[in-house]
Point group: C2
């Protein structure tokens, strides 16, 4: 909704010869910004298309999905790096749970499915100027829709430098 | 594209007072139909939104995602059962692979990610009249875009009766 309104405003401004700029064009909600990178929860991210899926063991113990907005999906599919400004990746995660019906049928753990949301929802927002010192990416985590603390945000970039040659993105598009 | 054209035709027919009907309204490609249920590969299914994710152990050993067309997403989110006619669920699956960068960083298996496509792409198509004898669902599997054999299709319904009380659908919407 916010996106639609903002696009409308931009279109109106363009028609009247004005120059319009707002960071909300990228689809952010205007909610409370997360610390460090100042990223707001992107509007409608649960409607985005799927890039890939993953499972984390150990303490994280979750099933996760990576979604991308239109710019991110295009770049991920075409494998063009770096991602363009405006690209946003969303990492959703859920509790890692054995499926009872499957366990009953097989007599052992066979299928693991997504339970309740877990480990927050994380975002990578590409803005090569604003986030020049962190590879062009701003990082954010939201727990139950609220920004996580500063410590959580300070850890992101260091870990993502492991995949610097893939524009700091761990996942690859799953066809 | 096919969908857009068909919707255009339906709209045109409606305006001119004609009655139009075609099974392609559900978004099927008109490609080779899979055996038993006669389901064609749905067009543009990789653009559909995410319902949930899962991991299968044992022989299947994959990471998977369930996507849904608009009708399926709506029903899955609202938890309204049975799914309405026209709902289509897609099950994609990929090889279950440890992420090398993560293994290096943690010194052990930590992250498992989607590798190459595996175990085909499967669909459940809701048509309560056409598929009345199988809970209103038609089942299909495509391997590399080609319909799988008859044996693969004869196994679907028996297994899905395990979750008859959830309209024969194993997955639940992951928020």
């Amino acid at each position: 909704m916010v996106r639609r309104i903002v696009f409308g405003l931009v279109a109106a401004a363009a028609m009247s010869g004005m120059v319009a700029y707002t960071t909300r064009v990228s689809g952010q909600t205007g909610g409370e910004a997360a610390p460090v990178f100042g990223v707001e929860l992107p509007a409608g991210y649960r409607e985005w298309r799927l890039i890939s899926v993953a499972h984390e063991e150990g303490k994280l113990k979750d099933l996760r999905a990576i979604l991308g907005n239109d710019a991110a999906i295009k770049a991920a599919r075409e494998g063009t790096l770096p991602y363009p400004d405006g690209a946003i990746l969303a990492r959703l995660a859920w509790n890692y749970e054995p499926l009872a019906e499957s366990e009953k049928a097989f007599g052992r753990h066979q299928s693991f499915v997504a339970g309740a949301p877990k480990n927050g929802v994380q975002f990578m927002v590409k803005d090569s100027k604003k986030y020049a010192s962190t590879g062009g990416w701003g990082f954010a985590q939201f727990d139950d829709g609220k920004p996580a603390g500063e410590a959580a945000h300070n850890a992101c970039f260091a870990c993502h430098t492991t995949v610097k040659d893939r524009d700091f993105v761990f996942n690859r598009y799953a066809p």
